[in-house]
Subunit: 203 residues, 2 copies
């Protein structure tokens, strides 16, 4: 579909580069922005520019932050001995939303994936090893996605740290709470049998 | 979910105001923009700003245009006697993509919808009546959505123009080409019976 304006075309093409936005949605979004008044569009652009200019990555854990150190790393109430390794800042937010983890994080910024050209040196693995070498960490929790790439990354880090006396754990896999047994895939159901837990009666 | 940076939060909130983008998608888009290099983000912002500053609306038909008059209105090969009334610039693009219509357009900018606070004076109806009053238009084609609001708008314009000698038509409704009969809704199937066409054999 040919657009009647090159400026509209440019904006629409740029919007279509965003994740999850196709050509039709991009045009819809461009026309929506076009129909807004000048101040609204300026606020929109300024918010993105402000984010790009001001957001930093925590120098310790690589989580997103407004300051040099993120609010989790600088919180004295958080447990310094437990470190949770995640792929992405969104994983930090998801785990924080559960309210169950009181330790600190290390954001890798991805997982090892030779297919996508992501090698260990593209990830924040070196700084993770440095944190472990400082000696205060007692337990390392792998919370990467249960994919081939996630497992590869777990194993790579595990091997790198094998000379340190660390408890290394990984999140439990099993049937999701509230889901029906017969909808679970074979791998998950199989794993949940292997890792079955003692039953303590109703809680 | 609380975001770890107010700048990220602002950008994410602004992105979530776009049509079809929820909170989770907005965060995904914000993080994607954050991971891009500076030049890419600048090009993105510039394209939207450029669109907002430079796109005009054709003074005749209200279609989107880079110039004072759009490429359709200023095209001497287009038929001046046939005017197609549409709701939105996207409808112009969709009809142009069919390649079957050689007349000109008039973009209303919406349909009459008291529920959404859209009254006739919010739409480009006055300029439509002026174009008809200039006398060169022979046929007016209503190509609005087949909704209550679209029908109301058709009827409003029809009444306003009843003293002019105009052929007024509307797009045919019926079973979509390539779709199966038993999937058509009752209204559409009923209408396609009422408006059945003479059969001319294979074309």
């Amino acid at each position: 579909m040919e657009l009647p304006s090159t400026h509209l075309q440019n904006a629409s093409d740029q919007i279509a580069t965003l994740p999850g936005i196709g050509k039709k949605s991009a045009l819809r979004i461009a026309l929506n922005l076009l129909s807004r008044n000048k101040e609204e569009v300026e606020a929109f652009l300024k918010a993105i520019q402000g984010m790009k200019e001001n957001v930093r990555f925590c120098s310790t854990c690589h989580n997103i932050s407004d300051d040099l150190e993120c609010s989790i790393c600088s919180n004295p109430k958080r447990d310094n001995e437990t470190l949770c390794v995640v792929e992405d800042v969104r994983d930090v937010m998801a785990i924080e939303a559960t309210g169950t983890f009181k330790g600190k994080y290390h954001v890798l910024g991805g997982v090892i994936s030779p297919m996508d050209g992501v090698s260990p040196k593209d990830l924040n693995i070196e700084t993770l090893i440095q944190r472990v070498e400082q000696g205060s960490i007692h337990e390392l929790i792998f919370a990467l996605s249960p994919t081939m790439e996630g497992d590869t990354t777990n194993y790579y880090i595990f091997k790198k740290l094998k000379d340190h006396s660390l408890v290394v754990t990984t999140l439990s896999r099993g049937i999701a709470i509230g889901s029906e047994l017969h909808y679970a895939d074979e791998l998950t159901l199989g794993r949940s049998f292997q890792n079955r837990q003692p039953y303590h009666g109703a809680k």
